[in-house]
């Protein structure tokens, strides 16, 4: 079995749906490597079981239970805890090398060649392109690196308050040292690139291997017609139509049909999670179809999603 892994993170049941779609998108392109997901206590037991059906590793990270030196230091600044959850990916030392993918990404083509790159390889961020975007990056799990990152976090904080600012400060030579660590933008194509430089998106976007739904256009926040199985494309997002539809195709075919009945309150738990976590996107088009229920439970209040 490969000792390389794709790693993602889910902090609640809603993002777990994204993680499941990411995992299935990797399976569809026949990746040769393992799948791992970091989860926090916000993920329900039922969802954990669902995640275990496709991820080789489901690793719960809980800062408060951890007693190592770096985490004890971090406990002095508990406000950093949620922000830096992603850093726990460096603790997956059962793997030799990993590629981290945010749960709002979507793999369109086989990208196993990414594992030929070295830590820290990433694509530029569209906001300040001498920073890399931390939605997709190649790294080597290492407890030393994890500890060093945590210590750096406690000492310096993060200029943007999140993991991207911290990782860019820590791997500060990314911009100007080694071109091989600059992943082509098609490995982390920002969905906003489509409207900030549309001609380039039309020219190069067809080669996209991993799309990153940054901003407000999250696929799970779009309206979806459960009869036609078509997603409604909001105005100005027509060039993302194929990507949004593909996300929903995977969700319908690979994820939703297999959700268990005991996750029937998923929409409710998602909303509750998002109220608790201010960093979650606001719910503007909350139309994720609920998981299937026994027919006897179906009411008019539940969209009649074909199972």
């Amino acid at each position: 079995m490969s000792n390389f892994a794709w790693v993602t993170l889910a902090t609640n049941d809603s993002y777990s749906l994204g993680a499941l779609v990411v995992a299935h998108s990797l399976k569809r392109v026949h990746t040769a490597h393992q799948l791992a997901v970091l989860i926090t206590p916000g993920v329900s037991e039922a969802m954990k079981n669902k995640l275990r059906t496709i991820f080789n590793v489901v690793e719960e990270v809980n800062l408060l239970d951890s007693k190592d030196e770096a985490n004890l230091a971090l406990l002095k600044r508990p406000e950093l805890g949620i922000t830096f959850t992603k850093l726990h990916c460096w603790r997956l030392t059962q793997f030799e090398k990993c590629v981290f993918l945010d749960a709002d990404t979507l793999v369109l083509r086989n990208c196993d060649e990414l594992f030929e790159r070295e830590e820290l390889s990433a694509a530029p961020d569209v906001g300040w392109p001498d920073c890399f975007n931390s939605g997709v990056y190649v790294y080597r799990p290492s407890l030393d690196t994890f500890s060093s990152l945590m210590q750096y976090a406690v000492t310096h904080g993060s200029f943007d308050g999140g993991d991207q600012g911290l990782l860019n400060s820590y791997f500060s030579d990314w911009a100007h040292k080694d071109i091989s660590k600059h992943l082509p933008f098609i490995y982390n194509t920002s969905s906003v690139a489509s409207y900030s430089y549309l001609p380039a998106f039309k020219q190069f976007g067809q080669n996209t291997k991993i799309l990153h739904f940054i901003g407000t256009a999250k696929p799970w926040l779009q309206n979806f017609n459960s009869e036609s199985r078509k997603v409604y494309i909001p105005g100005g997002y027509q060039h993302l139509a194929n990507f949004l539809q593909y996300w929903w195709d995977i969700f319908c075919e690979d994820v939703h049909s297999r959700l268990s009945a005991d996750m029937s309150d998923l929409n409710n738990s998602r909303n509750n999670n998002e109220k608790r976590n201010s960093s979650a996107p606001s719910v503007r088009y909350c139309e994720i179809p609920p998981p299937p229920k026994p027919t006897s439970q179906l009411t008019n209040q539940v969209p009649s999603y074909p199972t």
Copy 2:
């Protein structure tokens, strides 16, 4: 005298004002190198004379007068003529190496070290960061390169209809071949970076060496109080306040006070030019103070700008 030059382009009197500010911003930081400006027939005789007071070379480029092979080829597609005017910078073979600066840039610190870079060095574009932004680039004048670029243009066109698309296709290995050709973003800091990733702008923007006023926030389109000599900062642009004010400081102190009386219809010519050229920004805050007139000509219709 240095055989390196800073090169800019002005297609009308309005952009000539930008070119003059660029030139004076370079003088203020004591560049050791020469200044050259390409102009098209849209620039008035009076403005040409003004340009000659600070630029070492004022080179008029007029496709219709040119008879060389590349230009004859281009004549078959005259619609490309305006778009590719910038390419004429490769014909300045009296210089060994040049840095091109768009007329909507502003040099904040001495950047003579840019001449240590090789063709084609440029900073990433915020829209699609595997493309470089063609507002600032290091190049080597060469008639062969000029001819090759023109031939490429005629054969392939430009994916964005402008020089940036063409140059990125021609220098297509920029993104992934040589990190030394990736100029740090502080040499071409896009003004829109300030709102697309404000934390990074706050962290790194203070190191900016060349600011590029892309988009609609052109300095010359902002309202200006001729009594206080302060520019009005539009909502959402407070973080650009110092840069906008500096542009106007240079304009007032170094440019405006030296404009001659025979350019008194500059605002009119500017508006006419912008109506003719659809690629020019729309005039939302058309408040460039007119050049000084003899006191006898001053009326209430003319803002009383101190000279």
